[in-house]
Amino acid sequence: MASEISRAIAAGILGGSVYALMAVGLTLTFGVLDIINVAQGIFVVLGAYLSYALSVHLHLDLLLGLLITVPAMFIIGLVIYWLFIRPLRGAERTSMTLLACFAVALIIEGVLYREFGSGYVSLNAWYTSASVHIFDFYLADIYLIGFGLAAVAFAAIYLILYRTTFGRAVRATMQNRVAARLIGIDVNRVSALTFGIGTAVTAIGGMVYGAISGGFTPNSGYDLISRLLAIVILAGLGSVGGALVAAIFMTTAEALVDIWQPDWAVAVFYLALVIILTFRPAGIFGQRAVRAQ
């Protein structure tokens, strides 16, 4: 039992870091563009399928494949932003962009069904089956690799946000979009690039998810987006650090509950969300006022 618990905690933290990465993409998008990209879930699945295609058809190693999938997803993100999100303005902008993201997600899901069918596929490499011995349990190598990738990506994001001019522009836009525009920041460019970054991280997330999950289909997008949304809202929209903490906390909680009640494990996410929101409508770390329009 003790080893099961330790394993759950380790898997939760390591796996949670990858969820955190994808959640951060989501929360950054919210912070800069003021939209909730509900297509993030299917983007992850898309990233997983891209890795799959490269691995199966080109026999490219999954990690190497990232060199292709990350830029590819970045560009896909830019295109989607430019075509479907940027044109939306007006009073109903928040609802419209949300629905537009949903529509995009549907289209991508349909295309994935068409290209790959509805059967379960998974990503395999030597590090998905080989495992490492930690304390008194075994954990597949991919967990450590995933954690490593997430760490590298987080470091990169941190450096971008806090050490580059672009990053400063992003933070300024997150604080006050109008003011940012007034001091000469090209808010559209910042938005496009942020959206692209949010999508690019799903390439990494997709690869790790595809390897850890043991099998995915185009339908897996729903499960993913609901978890990511729960993480981001619980943390408080716009809070990057909060998303990190929330992701790790919730993934670990789920892994623990899974030991005793596998059927209900995923409910941890939703129940935590509902409970927290009942007492803190803005999320744990959320700063925006409740119902500020």
Partner: protein, 354 residues
Amino acid sequence: MAGTRHAPRLRSRTFSGLGAAVLIAVIAVFPLVFTNPTATNFGVITLIFLAVASAWNIFSGFSGYLSLGHAVFYGTGAYFLAVAAKDWHLTGSAVFWLLPLAGAVAALIAVPLGLVALRVRRHTFVVITIAFFFIAQLSASNLAVTGGSSGLLLPVPNWTSATFNNPFYYVALIIAAGTVALSVLIRRSRFGLQLRAIRDDEDRAAGLGVRAMPVKLTALVLSAFITGMAGALWVYFIGEAFPQFVFDPLFDLAVVLMAFFGGLGTVAGPVLGALILEPAQMYLNLQQSNGYESEILFGALFLVVILFLPRGVLPTAGEWLTPGRMRRLRDGWLAWRARRTAHPPVPPAEGTPS
């Protein structure tokens, strides 16, 4: 912003009252004219979605709080009926009496859900409705009372197969008509005004004495009641209840698209949206054996509506038909008629050689 754009005067009250009466009459005789079971099948489902879209609009369209979790109410009503019909050994038309009860159960759960969800920002509200949806789906899959993932079967009424659909059709018609009537009443009432004020600027409305939470909650409860009834009717019609089927993530999207397509926040919008889109969707499902075609088309249509017809077909048409254009249309029509009376086609006179 020079010039005043008036609220669309395209439909005067008598015109729309007449139009509605005609529409209801047409819909009422539909099964007597088109007796083909496939047609009446379409009819039942379309009317159910018409009711749901209108009910959704009563809450989300008027208040501006986008709910993507109405499937929770739909499914609750559905499962309640399934369980109740089985436990109370009801069959045939008796089951229809359970519908209002199913609606009431859905309305009841709307209260705690609303109390939690309606206190947060609109972004968060949408997400929390999604969370509720997944909790509901998960519960249905895992609880014994709902039959777990194998679901429940409903008693099949032993009516003649030729007119089997008809009772369902007329019950659906009653629910749909009632919902639209309720929509009209709300739209014209102070309650509806408060909802729409909340949609535009909730804090300002609150500052002017509008009690936002009771107003929003009432709208949600009404919406849930109807949606629950619709779900119950649907599951009885279909005959079985599976979690993934009853709690379908695409359900809310379909409903939202219908409301948006027709015109969010208007009364006729969801009606139009349902009448056009639901048969179209069912037709597509018949034509395509692959689910993904309809998904892609669905998503594409959604994007088209959002990008190009953001206010929906009816309001956009209403604005397009400005008094100027209407006058031109009317003048054109009068001119055409004048030409015909001045030079009517002359029939050959009796007896004269042609």
